[in-house]
Symmetry: D2
């Protein structure tokens, strides 16, 4: 017979719980349990930590390892059977909720020319970042958008959306980013399959770019009150050009180099209510200083090669690799090339942190702002 | 030896995952796992449910059951040892995260005249609703507030705060409401003990009421940019008077009777970034219709007696009882008295649902808007 | 024959226009005029002053002087003939636009028991501050409100509204405050007479107070998106109580004593888009320091007696007197009683100044912050 | 001896003032005047019109007429003497306030290579639209911007700014647009000459474009809380490209064709607090329908030729011509070319109308939405 222990979290610090189990107390705890209650001091130090300690572990997913397995899925299951033919990133600390990091889900999806997934809508928010191929498109509430490598597209909370690859395209692989674990945790997940399985394209192709994609301009009639960006599609070329122009005009951040957030042009804020995205350029030879902050971040290498040190662990990355930075983990990034810039795409739950007033940030003060790198495991 | 099963969540619905385990697939799943990945179709139907199904169960905590156990804690532990001497509500579906419902924590705290808890600050948001006693006070960032029964006070994210009972008071019991589970889940919890263990009172007692507690008025110099209400203290008497006036002027809601939200007078919004609160009056004999919505709600009966039907289960309540309504649970409330009104205090994560664009609501269409009550278990 | 002069505004300061008339230039100016153009340097120093110089002059309107004339209007014209039987305040510097100060209109209106003005709507914003009598009421978009002395009510831009006095009341005099001159100047004035001459009362009397008049509370269903406060009616007693509570808790402003702005409870902002209002309490013996700011302000003495010094001119006031402070005029206020507090109601175009980013403020640095008083004219 | 007349504005409409002068009333009016008051019913119908009637008259300023006179100013006055060498547009209905239309000032300024105006700051808001030349630049708070034809730049309220033409440029002519009349009318005008007469360039040239000029992107650190756009400079080429893309994707407005508003990328709103700007494209052969709205609008033809009908009067325009549409004037625009598109730049006080809740709009219902054109005067 096992004896229940209640005093595993004691701390002998003034203001913290420090109560030793006694037979009388243990009996009391049993009484409380029968009333669907418990004594706070048995768990207070555990549930009120001094600072966050993420359940997620830092992980680097190498594309050269993943790619063949993603492609293999094509021969193993049909899109009809699978719903979506996706291999998702399964953080060892977050298996229970199928998260890549924190409350963010991410998967790699493959689609062949002429294939198209059925249309659905959900209360989760999603984005899709193109990794390779040609001819990918997405339809969101009747707006069809064509997508090239390093472009990304929003398929927001509540919108009907579907993905496909044109018959004259090439096999496409993209990264999906969603807040599925968060929305499930918040017990607010709804899912609908489109009654006709596919939408009609109701507008000229890429019309959202024509309406919302010009800098410092908006159409006369806004006609938009939804809690996400009407732009939907964010393209690689103008983003990369913008980063290079910004690099010429601004020092950038010691922690992130030259970083721009993708925005909703109607309010300058994040692209969706729960997920933000950014692209950052690390100049040749750039080594950032280390900092840590709340929020969970998932990076994809859009260009170049380099490494990141996350909680003392070094991860060497190259184009198409994906890695995560858990909440409150120290991290710093470096471009390993002396001649070429490197670019990191990132999506995160930063909007959640900001809206709920939970964003905190700290720079590493010691060792010139750089972490001590731990020996490889 | 156990065989791993991957096809437990199949649904034979177009657009949903429906893939049967085969030896080849199981081997493939093993390969994926070694790369810290997995196949979405093995979990898609589980992580993308058609609609929310809360892990929390409806619970009624009867105060006549709890009270003696709360009082017993006084003789069992000192405040110094316990940190705070609190019995918390432990929803059977949420034991792992110490939540009363959803991601909300709640506890009952007892304090004797002359006692005072030490000051601390945390990134969780808290409120304190007085249930019985006399002489309770709270100090928030140097503002001391006196508190009577059915009053509540905010101790928001980031503020230094402490609780006590005046030496000439009576033993006090109050309900704490916090977002501890949410902030932990979001990996954004910070905790500090005040360096002097107690704050100085830096302003006239109840000054926040003098500055912010007048209807339709604000002081000339706002001097406030924090993400929570500067009013801090919300009193029972003016709230009850306001509900009676509103009841005379307005029909109210078929689902909630005469309900008012506590607000931040600077923006008309919720009192804190993550927790909202309301008080509602059910007229004598009032029986609401049933609806369901996202968000987790914890009620305390401030006045009267009646019952609520939650997902078909009837809970009879009287003054001081506490009960919860989980996300997307059908619920309806009734005042059991034909002559006296009943009042329900409630706090919830409604601000989170609204900010993250996850609030959804549905009225019960059948049976005249009333649930079928299940036989008691 | 008159010779046109163009060089009346020369200043010999670097960066300012300093061009002397020559025959050649005067001929050139004539050519320009024929093309509906002119040379900026002939007017630049005039139209770009170093700082504002108001066209309005400080005026005190003594109620003991005005009252009999206001009452006389009753026997001279009928409300039907007059439209509204109002004597308006005619600032000597603003006769052309019928303004009391700046772009604000104000008049005193008298109405006898049983009288009622017809309903109309206009794009100007209005408020009505009760000066004497009993039984006054106003109906705004079907909401009837009863009004006592020192109460005020909004009849905002676009609303149907009408005023009356109950048959069992006493003759009432009130002050109207409107932005008629501003709206005319902005060429945006519209006026409609109600098709039935009078509205139906569509809600319980004073229902807006029941919905929006409780501190730190709002009804569950907001149902309000108009650009003005849904509260409409602001009462004297709770305002005076609030000022006394604030005076006990806060030092107040050296320039304004204990001042509170009336607010829209939905956003904490001004009561209407173009007109703000405040009530301030001057403690017994209080003498403010002098400052000046942009915006036009019209005061009514709600309680007590004292004086104000405006651009060096002293104005002694007592209950019901009205005086104005023009834009950028130095001003300071004093309570002449050593035992009683004094209260000043004020309405202004502060919302306009703030929204258009034109608010500026300056404290008087010299002579301990007090103006030199000029000898009476 | 002249007899004063008070009943010039009578209307025999229920709800309007209709009081005939009598000797008794005229004597009464005299009494009121001595108290700095007057009877509302003598002016009510005048100051509360049924709808706006603008003091401004529609005017077309032909560039072929103006250009030589603008150039002549160079030989007539030095920039040092003139402050700024500007010929301003003097609406015959607004001479007193030096406005081109409503409360908007506009002038044409000429500057030769190597010339530079001194730096100043004012509480008026300004923009500068380049009409011809090469090498124009503007410096705003240390940010230097180069400007080409059809570009425009903001020099907002409170900013230090100065204009010049590079020594290797060509003579430049541009249109200034300011709210000088409005700010004067609101008695909020301040003016400062820079202590050093010129600013230092403190940032890389055109850095604001690098930070804020990318579509759907913003720099990581915003660092901006001013009430105007940080972008400052809006270029012709990307604007014209954007209009053509929008024309391919959207029908546009029946009243305005394909119109885009210039925005503040941080909030999607107007470029400054008091002045908005837009560019619109009229497709070949396009004839708009007529509407009218509040607000004052000044157009410059950026490309092409056509005509506008304003309150029944036809104005034929070509590139560089300027014309105005007064508040509540009916207006419709047409492109006279069957093959080339036409583009109209416009600035207006639309932000003022919107913020003060005074914007109203009406479509012409009769004659298929087209005005009857009056014979030329």
């Amino acid at each position: 017979m096992t004896t229940m222990t209640y005093d595993a979290h004691r701390e002998s610090v003034a203001g913290r719980a420090d109560v030793e189990d006694t037979p009388e107390l243990v009996a009391y705890y049993g009484d409380l349990a029968r009333l669907k209650t418990a004594a706070l001091w048995t768990v207070a130090n555990k549930i009120e930590p001094w600072q966050p300690k993420s359940e997620s572990v830092p992980v680097l997913w190498r594309y050269r390892d993943l790619r063949e397995h993603v492609l293999r899925s094509v021969s193993l299951v049909t899109p009809e059977k699978a719903g979506r033919r996706v291999i998702y990133l399964d953080n060892p600390g977050r298996r229970e909720v199928a998260a890549a990091v924190g409350w963010l889900y991410s998967g790699l999806q493959v689609m062949h020319p002429g294939e198209a997934a059925s249309a659905h809508a959900h209360s989760t928010s999603a984005l899709r970042f193109i990794m390779e191929g040609r001819g990918a498109y997405t339809i969101v509430d009747g707006h069809k958008m064509t997508l090239g490598v390093n472009d990304f597209v929003l398929t927001p909370n509540g919108s009907w959306h579907e993905h496909g690859v044109e018959a004259d395209g090439l096999p496409c692989i993209w990264q999906d980013g969603l807040d599925i674990p968060l929305v499930n945790a918040l017990e607010a997940g709804f899912f609908k399959v489109h009654p006709d399985m596919h939408q009609q394209v109701a507008y000229p192709v890429d019309d959202s770019l024509a309406l919302w994609g010009a800098p410092g301009l908006r159409p006369h009639d806004v006609g938009w009150s939804k809690p996400y960006s009407p732009l939907f599609k964010y393209q690689w070329e103008p983003t990369y050009e913008a980063l290079k122009r910004l690099a010429a005009a601004s020092e950038g951040s010691p922690f992130d180099g030259v970083l721009m957030h993708y925005t909703n042009p109607l309010n300058g804020g994040h692209v969706m209510a729960t997920i933000g995205a950014s692209m950052q350029l690390l100049r040749p030879g750039f080594e950032s200083k280390a900092h840590r902050h709340t929020g969970s971040f998932l990076y994809q290498v859009a260009k170049g090669r380099g490494y990141s040190i996350i909680n003392g662990q070094r991860f060497d990355w190259q184009e198409r690799d994906i890695f995560c930075v858990p909440s409150w983990a120290w991290h710093e990034h470096a471009n390993a090339s002396a001649t070429e810039d490197a670019c990191l795409f990132c999506f995160s739950d930063l909007p959640v942190m900001e809206k709920l007033a939970l964003y905190r940030e700290e720079a590493l003060a010691d060792r010139g702002g750089h972490q001590t790198v731990l020996p490889a495991a």
